[in-house]
Amino acid sequence: MDSHRDIERIAADWLARRGDAGRAWTDADQRALDAWLSASTAHQVAYIRLDAVWQQADRLKALGAGVPSGEVPDKSGWRRSPFFAHRSLAASSMAQPAPTRARTEGDVDAASGLSALRFRSRSGRPVRRRGLRLAGAAACVLLAATVSLGGWYRYAAPTEAIEFSTAFGDVREVPLPDGSAATLSSDTRLRMALTRRARRIELEHGEAYFQVVADAGRPFIVQVGETRLIAVGTRFAVRAESGEAAPDGDRTVRVVVTEGAVRLEPGGGVQPSSPPPLLTAGVVAMVRGSAVQVESGSPELAERALGWRTGDVVFSATPLAEAAAEFNRHNARRIVIDDPALAQMRVDGGFRIHNVDGFVRLLEVAFDVEAERTDDRVVLRRR
């Protein structure tokens, strides 16, 4: 009889051969394996032992979810998974970045809610931030900002109008006729018209990041519904939130400024009592009608809110509902959260925007979430 060490080696060889998806596992292979296994209990035991651990190792996928595809990180560096971050068992290198002092007011960890409407204090307690209020008490009244397409360019005949769009799941950078550039996120459509006095962009839906070349004589104006953003030379992103993000059907616009400054002219039909706010680099603003909420952090943190440009999204204490919405903007297979409490659960970590499976697997193993998968969606429930 072979020694136990030899047996283990043969058992491992069988498992290795069987596991190769690129090689057909034939009936003859199965018969040969069965014959080997039935020859001795020692064979079976060795095989069961290795097989059990090898199957367990599939769960490592959840831990590797934060690692970009195509990369084999070094031994200390790959544990970017929310697991290691959450349980404080992580290597120190995996610690959260130090909170950046908020520029406008208070102690706000700007990383914590870049895409959130509510802002957290350092203690993690949700705090409703005042932000920049444009119209005093009127700001509390969320006025319906109907999206009126094209109304703004009637008063100045465009010299040219060009439409740009991306398909669902697509991200594309396009040169604009004035020398600026726009990066269009998934399922985005915008039109650009140049006049002698202005460069006008109408964002119909989706999100775009603009790198604007300076031209003092012709401001760069991005309009979403009635919200207008006016830049000279700067870099910023504008997103028209879908109805899903704004359940009451109101149109919410997210603005992220990574360089320079953008002047905001909110819509909503209420004349602002103060001058229009200037959104500076590092700002993430949510605009709905005349209500504006502003969060200020560093430009680097603002960049992180735009992870879709490179396909790497980073969540930091992000409500699961928002994380799911981010995935849903880029993937045909939708994540549906079937539990309001679950929707509020906060998640951390970096993910490939198309790695829905990795994200969901992580939720399953880390957060007692149960996923029901169909071809076109993944429904999440509490286990």
């Binding site: 020694s3 090898w54 959840a62 880390a366």
Partner: protein, 190 residues
């Protein structure tokens, strides 16, 4: 092969491997035998369980290991009074809590991650690409610039080492059959 028996075996017996190896290493004077003793214990437990599942699997496993060592002594393969004496004293280990029995998901994953990181570089690389990215061996081979055969060998080695590191986190080389010298010798053929 009986699937439910295999599952039972993994769930009730294999989870105690670390404690079993420690027990064998403490009891038996020859460390080189620990690996064989472990596997022999598994064979006996598995065969017994095929007939009838023991009510207390862990206690049964230890009893089996003790009987096995006693058999070996009786057969004269090892004659050592100390061994017999030690074995009587080792009933204590039955009462030892085994922290890994009920290890939560998190601990299991941490163990897996640690085990993965203990693999030799090339081996870890192959396992990573295969497991994390679901690549076929041909694709892994292309990424690593090696032959498909080499990938299969590295995976096979990874399977063995992962099992060892995962099941016996803290037991060092005892009973693993994978001492430093041993693994160096292994390199040429796998």
């Amino acid at each position: 092969m009986d699937e439910s028996l295999a599952e039972w075996f993994a769930r009730e017996i294999l989870v105690h491997e670390e404690a079993l190896v420690r027990f064998l290493a403490r009891t038996w004077p020859h460390r080189d035998d620990v690996y064989d003793l472990r596997q022999e214990t598994y064979v006996r437990v598995y065969e017994a369980a095929a007939r009838s599942r023991p009510a207390s699997p862990r206690a049964f496993m230890y009893a089996t290991a003790r009987n096995l060592m006693a058999d070996r002594i009786r057969r004269g393969r090892v004659v050592s009074i100390e061994v017999v004496g030690d074995m009587e004293a080792l009933n204590v280990s039955l009462e030892e809590p085994t922290p890994d029995d009920k290890a939560g998901t998190w601990q299991q994953l941490k163990r897996l991650a640690d085990a993965l990181d203990r693999l030799p570089d090339r081996c870890r690389h192959a396992v990573w690409l295969h497991k994390m990215e679901d690549l076929s061996y041909r694709e892994v081979a292309a990424r690593m610039g090696v032959s498909v055969k080499t990938v299969e060998k590295q995976i096979s080695k990874g399977i063995r080492r992962l099992a060892q590191f995962y099941l016996q986190r803290d037991t060092g080389d005892a009973g693993t059959g994978e001492t430093a010298a041993g693994s160096a010798r292994e390199e040429p053929h796998g």
